[in-house]
Amino acid sequence: MNWESPAAFFAMGGYGLYVWGSFGVCAVLMIVEPILASKRRNDILRSLRRERIAENLEQP
């Protein structure tokens, strides 16, 4: 183990800003990207479902 305390871990030997700035942005992007991708699929699914309901309404 390299780190004596959590504080030392977050300080990263004085490089905290750079290390966490890199990892933070990378993590945010990699969390947001899949969310956006599945949102895109959910959006189209929702509109397809709506279309289907509209079609069924016309019949009677």
Partner: protein, 250 residues
């Protein structure tokens, strides 16, 4: 036997059969991402020792290098799909290329961003006109151009084909750009410290980098497949098979 296999492959080249297949594969790739990411991060932050020269700052390369690799690799895969689409006229190829592009652009962006955050403490500047950084920047522009071109064309098939030509032109140009920038860089005596020439790659470091690269790879596949599924639905919205999907009926 081999004949059967060919038929099998062509079967999955149709969006209709690829859609459920991708749906089944995605959770597996997310699982693999976790399997590689957790030990990778553990090595990154805990197992890898402090670097004598660069202190703790060098830990950035555990994400920088995999992101840079992926940004180049995805571009090549994208161009390969594009070429396949032009040659065989399969619909799925264009969708794959389109699904990969944003992930590739994000990888290129991450490699630029982390490069800057590594460069600031090491070189004392956020941006250095280093050959790798410059060509990564141009690769990022190529991704943006590809995405913008496809977004500007309404007809999906034309967008696929135009994008394919651009991707092929790009893939020929990427090495030319890289070597020209490198040549330019040595001529101007730019930065001599290289990002990947980290002093004495210890075995633990190599393992860490490898695990992180695998994690990024699996992540890219999972996200790209998710996006391809959305693209398939958008393009095939008015076909019978989409109307019969359980997700749509529910």
């Amino acid at each position: 036997m081999s004949n059967n296999k060919i038929i099998h492959w062509f079967k999955y080249a149709s969006p209709q059969s690829f859609y459920p297949l991708a749906g089944k594969l995605i959770p597996w790739f997310w699982g693999l991402t976790a399997v590689f990411l957790i030990p990778g991060l553990w090595i990154t932050f805990f197992a890898a020792p402090t670097d004598a020269q660069q202190g703790e700052g060098y830990r950035i390369i555990f994400i920088h290098v995999p992101a840079a690799w992926m940004s180049m690799f995805i571009y090549i895969v994208m161009a390969a799909w594009a070429g396949l689409g032009l040659a065989l006229n399969t619909r799925l190829s264009g969708m794959m290329a389109q699904g990969l592009a944003p992930t590739g652009a994000i990888m290129a962006f991450v490699s630029l961003w982390t490069g800057a955050f590594w460069g600031k403490p090491m070189w004392g500047a956020w941006w250095v006109w280093d050959a790798r950084l410059t060509s990564a920047l141009i690769l990022f522009f190529l991704y943006i151009g590809f995405i913008a071109l496809q977004a500007a064309i309404d007809d999906a098939r034309r967008a696929d084909k135009a994008g394919a030509i651009l991707a092929l032109v790009g893939v020929v140009n990427v090495p030319i750009i890289y070597f020209s920038v490198k040549w330019w860089n040595t001529l101007h005596q730019g930065a001599s410290v290289s990002l990947t020439k980290a002093p004495t790659m210890a075995a633990t470091m190599l393992w860490g980098m490898l695990l992180m690269a695998l994690a990024f790879w699996m992540y890219s596949i999972a996200v790209a497949l998710t996006r391809v599924r959305a693209i398939i639905l958008e393009r095939e919205a008015h076909t019978e098979w989409v109307k019969e999907l359980d997700e749509v009926k529910a």
